[in-house]
């Protein structure tokens, strides 16, 4: 039975991108089929920031194309990595002497397309380096980076390196800034209820009523164990505790805290969760200096949220809070 307001299933991706660029013509446009670029590109003397990923996660990833964040987002079909051809085409579009920083979320399809396109790009004389994100901690505390998926932590990373690129940092400097941010960021997802694939109505997750699963992946893949749905405060404390076990913040550390709604949980609930997570961090002696409550990366109508936490260095705080960003789904006025 139909549950979503779509037209022909195979047109979901081009139609959602068309709507998006029609709405924000002063910020974004289609550079080519399924490639979103800035309406006002930045100077070619600066490194371009490019990312890739499947659709179905709106506003991610293309919602963050704009001044001070991404220069280009290469979009695959729903939950599917774009092919190497599309990505190589984008790298050709973004080619410049300063180079391209390609941000890749650690999912096998995305990683493969990125490796393939970068191999071809190098042979075609395009300067490009990859930065792979793997913020998910559901594979276990201290699990090797290769085993950890990239979740919504890529989005504050876009803000940090986007601002640094806008400032004129070199490709190598951006890699250093980004890797240092990657090292101190962790994300944990919790899900409840069910969620369907928009093109074939297949259930991609289906939790019984009253049950939640901590450690759910971006496409409804199970990760952690299922348990009884508990209160906002208890959920927040459990997740803060797990994230702190991964990050090991010390008293006095400056932290970023983001609650990302995955589709069907209300802003009301996100606020309540944020409140407790913030207080829990402060009670442990940490200082939350950058916060956000927003649906930045969704998983269709999946109820639940991702809690993203990072220990920030001073330059990261500056890039996050004080530098201008003007993307359709992330605005920072700047100082």
């Amino acid at each position: 039975m139909k549950t979503k307001f779509i037209n022909e299933p195979e047109n979901v991706t081009p139609e959602l991108l068309e709507g998006y660029v029609l709405c924000y013509p002063d910020k974004v446009k289609l550079g080519a089929e399924n490639i979103i670029v800035r309406a006002n590109p930045k100077d070619e003397s600066k490194v371009a920031i490019v990312t890739l990923g499947g659709s179905g996660h709106e506003p991610a990833l293309s919602g963050f194309v704009g001044e001070g964040m991404l220069d280009c987002s290469v979009v695959g079909d729903v939950f599917a990595a774009p092919g190497a051809q599309r990505l190589f085409q984008a790298l050709q579009l973004m080619k410049r002497e300063a180079g391209i920083l390609l941000v890749v979320l650690n999912h096998s399809g995305d990683v493969m397309s990125a490796n393939m396109a970068c191999q071809l790009a190098e042979r075609a004389g395009i300067k490009v380096k990859q930065l792979v994100t793997h913020d998910d901690i559901s594979a276990g505390i201290g699990a090797p980076a290769d085993d950890r998926r990239g979740l919504a932590g890529c989005i504050p990373l876009y803000k940090v390196i986007g601002a640094a690129a806008e400032e004129g940092k070199s490709l190598d400097e951006l890699i250093e800034i980004g890797e240092r941010f990657n090292k101190h960021i962790a994300t944990l997802a919790v899900a409840t209820g069910k969620c369907t694939h928009p093109q074939n109505n297949a259930l991609i997750s289906d939790l019984p009523p009253g049950i939640m699963e901590i450690g759910m992946g971006q496409h409804g893949e199970g990760g952690g164990g299922q348990k009884t749905l508990v209160s906002a405060d208890d959920t927040a404390v459990e997740m803060v505790d797990l994230l702190c076990r991964q990050l090991q913040p010390k008293s006095g550390d400056k932290m970023m805290l983001i609650i990302n709604g995955t589709g069907a949980t209300t802003q009301m609930e996100h606020n309540i969760i944020f409140r407790k997570a913030y207080k829990e961090l402060e009670a442990r002696g940490m200082k939350v200096v950058a916060g956000r409550i927003q649906e930045i990366l969704t998983v269709q109508e999946q109820a639940g949220f991702q809690m993203i936490m990072a220990i920030l260095d001073d330059d990261h705080i500056d890039y996050l809070n004080n530098r201008k960003a003007d993307a359709p789904y992330w605005t920072t006025i700047g100082k």
């Binding site: 092919g83 190497a84 051809q85 397309s113 393939m116 071809l120 042979r123």
Partner: protein, 206 residues
């Protein structure tokens, strides 16, 4: 046979494509046990792009580079990533228009090395690596100066490696989630790569 000429290599590629086309449905059915069920189509599409690109080749290096590019640009998915990487890696380690056994060994080792950069799978993980790694290793340890013997050894090792995947449990990629269910079926990628390497040998021996 002392040398592998570029024309003979093109004939080997065409024969590999023909043999793989004959077994396309079988490879897709094997893939359906634990995957998307599209491997037969994927390998036919990817190898077709390579064969087409090879047609206009006049020397190994550029021809293999063009083959790698076209495989990766005209098709997508893990099958073409690995096959494209194989040809690009070969291109990096080859020159000229005819290869002796040393040249062939170096070329295949280059292909394997570049594939190994694209996947963490190794022997025993129930992937195409179970056919490719033994085949390339068999070439490396061969002491014959006869090109035919080299490919014969590679094909025998590939067949043995692919057959061993029947009793393996999928251990890598999406197939890992299906674990036990994969036992009793050969891996689709090991089967298709084995078919390709075997066709190379058959073409050269006949």
């Amino acid at each position: 046979m002392e040398f592998l000429t570029i024309d003979l290599f093109k004939a080997m590629l065409r024969q590999a494509l023909n043999e793989i086309k004959k077994r396309e449905d079988e490879f897709s059915q094997l893939d359906a046990v634990i995957g998307d069920g599209d491997h037969g189509t994927a390998i036919v599409t990817a190898l077709s792009a390579a064969v087409k690109a090879a047609e206009k080749g006049t020397e190994f290096k550029t021809m293999l580079n063009d083959m790698g590019f076209d495989v990766m640009l005209e098709t997508s998915g893990s099958t073409s990533t690995l096959l494209g990487a194989f040809f690009l890696g070969m291109s990096d380690c080859v020159s000229g228009i005819a290869l002796d056994v040393v040249g062939i060994k170096t070329m295949f080792a280059g292909g394997l090395a570049n594939v190994a950069k694209q996947t963490q799978a190794r022997v025993g993980d129930k992937t195409m690596m179970d056919a490719l790694i033994p085949a390339v290793e068999a070439m490396q340890v061969s002491t014959s100066a006869d090109v035919k013997e080299l490919f014969k050894a590679a094909a025998a090792a590939a067949r043995q490696g692919a057959a061993q995947t029947i009793n393996m449990k999928a251990n890598y990629g999406r197939a890992r989630n299906y674990g036990e269910r994969s036992i009793g079926y050969a891996d689709s990628g090991a089967s298709s790569w084995c078919c390709m390497i075997n066709a190379f040998a058959e073409c050269i021996i006949k």
